[in-house]
């Protein structure tokens, strides 16, 4: 079952790379939250109940509900619905994404370790790659935000992959999520006005 969830997660990442509607991104972020919750429930059998509840609360409420809601508000305020300023066309993004998946799988095989499931490592690397790809190839603040949230999911995914051994590290990863989610989205995300969507005032 957990493998189906991981593969679904990987498919959403490919969709991320090619999507252009911001509302699609928001739905995908919410879906990521649900999938990560499912993976955590199936995978982390050895952690204690309090830790598990903490992780479920973080994924189900924070990642699948609060973050998409905040993102929706930011998009609603900015009035921007599509990623019209994309440095790379969608077709090439799709190619980059698939290339990234192949590279991630190859890297995961090289990094084979008795601690960690190869499929976890491959998808964690692919998630990181997709997040950075979104940040680098898009120009709108909202796209950068979504790219960052995908990077966050990569961190969470990776910490889940080693989680049975290191529950403390998962909690720290969650703290990162809460910190950044609350601060970036809740405060600065809502403060940024539509005309500051492109940050160009500070330059040499």
């Amino acid at each position: 079952m957990v493998n189906y969830l991981i593969v679904t997660f990987a498919v959403t990442l490919i969709y991320f790379a090619s999507a252009e509607r911001l509302s699609t991104y928001v739905r995908l972020i919410a879906l990521h939250g649900l999938l990560l919750c499912g993976i955590a429930v199936f995978e982390l059998k050895e952690v204690n109940l309090v830790n598990l509840l903490f992780i479920i609360a973080e994924t189900l409420f924070f990642k699948a509900m609060i973050l998409p809601w905040l993102l929706g508000r930011i998009i609603g305020r900015s009035g921007v619905t599509r990623v019209h300023r994309q440095a790379v066309p969608g077709f090439y993004m799709l190619l980059f994404s698939i290339a990234g998946l192949l590279i991630s799988v190859s890297l995961a095989r090289i990094l084979l370790n008795p601690f960690i499931n190869t499929i976890y490592l491959a998808i964690a690397l692919f998630t990181l790659y997709t997040g950075l790809l979104l940040i680098v190839t898009h120009q709108l603040i909202i796209s950068h935000l979504i790219g960052f949230l995908v990077v966050e999911n990569a961190v969470f995914f990776f910490s889940l992959a080693v989680g049975s051994e290191m529950p403390m590290l998962i909690n720290i990863g969650i703290l990162l999520d809460l910190f950044v989610g609350a601060l970036i989205l809740g405060f600065f995300g809502l403060k940024l006005k539509p005309h500051t969507n492109e940050l160009t005032m500070l330059k040499d």
Partner: protein, 475 residues
Amino acid sequence: MMLLIFFILSILLAGFALLSPGKAITKGIAVVFSASLIALAIHAWINTGSTELSYFTFDGTSVLLLSVLALLTLPTVYHGFIYTRDDTLKRFNIYHSGLIGLMTFMTGAYLANTMTVLWIFVEATTLAVAVLIYHDRTEIALEATWKYIFICSTGIALAYLGILFLGLIYGRGDTPNLSFSSLSQVAAKADPLYLKIAFVFVVVGFSTKMGLFPMHTVTIDAHSVAPPPVSALISTTLMNVGFLGIFRVYSLFASSPVLPFMNSVLMLAGVLSLLIAAGYMLKAKHVKRMLAYSSFENMGLVAIALGIGGQGYYASLLLVILHSLAKSSLFYQMGQLSRILHTFRLDECGKYMKLYPAGGAVLLTGMITILAIPPSGMFIPEFMIFRAMVTGGQWLVLVVSVILLTFVIYAMSTRVMHISFSPPRGEGTPVMSDVVNPAETISQFVLLGLVIAACFYQPPFLVDMISKSIAILPK
């Protein structure tokens, strides 16, 4: 025990400062905090090598960097009082509460003896700095704060991935507590591939704080907007936090087979930092951005020094300390420059020596000091770095570094000379509408004096502490 008292006191003082009913009380709170930080630094010197609260150790490197912070705390608070004197009470309180928070978090990061605690405090510094960069509440401040938080958070997330890879070097069944002492025991026999990946992630992640290539842009933008006393901290003690993160991991892996790889990564990052800094300094149009690029250049040299090894280790730590003193005095001076000239744009600056001789003298002395021109104490570590390059046979790095530093010297000296003696290039002449007391420059002269004194005499306690810090590194 002392550390616990310090942390509790800091939390209380930050809270009181936020809720203070008057500016005088807030000022008193900030001074009390500075005194407690200085007391902690003295305690750290006396108890070097001891561990407190399980997660904090007063080792050589942490004591040195804590001492630099303690040395800068009073001048930073003092210049902060001047910068915020016309602010509303609420904004005044937020500023000083944020400053107390930032210095406390930096203290925690310096003293942390595990990777996870270090990482948590580094993340906390981002929160405190964001409050301070946003102090002026302008659109440009919002943009700078946004960029700072966004890039720092991305960098911190990457550093966290590096820490996760560090956790994987433990054997199955071991409890990965990620303390530096525990890591040093397992690093030597760990899979080199994992060590290399962990090191690259840590360098990229902590480069957001150190202001090193590839995540250097974040600190440059923050500098141009942040209040000058805050810029002084971002450019010195906060950069030292990033340096410490990289230095810790480098020290842990130094006895493993990945040492040559780490050296190559650091030298590459250092040379690219020098290249970008030199390029941007040549076209700099904003005084504070120019100083920010100068910090970037110095951190590049520090990375090269670490990468070269040998004498470079000693030089890197000495350069970090002296750069902190010199650069902070220049940034403190920027507060006065803005009150005299009402701008940071180089085209609109001029005749500063005539308008404010004390400030002009700080600017010129600071320029000589930061460019490591004798009698600057920074000449000593830079000379040691070049000597280490020669003895290490790093001729290409030597030639490239010398050429790039020549560009840096040209760019900075022509611009500082222009500010000091030439009329502004724009229309009109500069008008001094604010009376600035020359006594405000005393702390800046004292700090610059310390850097110059280091050219002639380095006290044995300093040499001894630096030697202790690099004792575990290969000779």
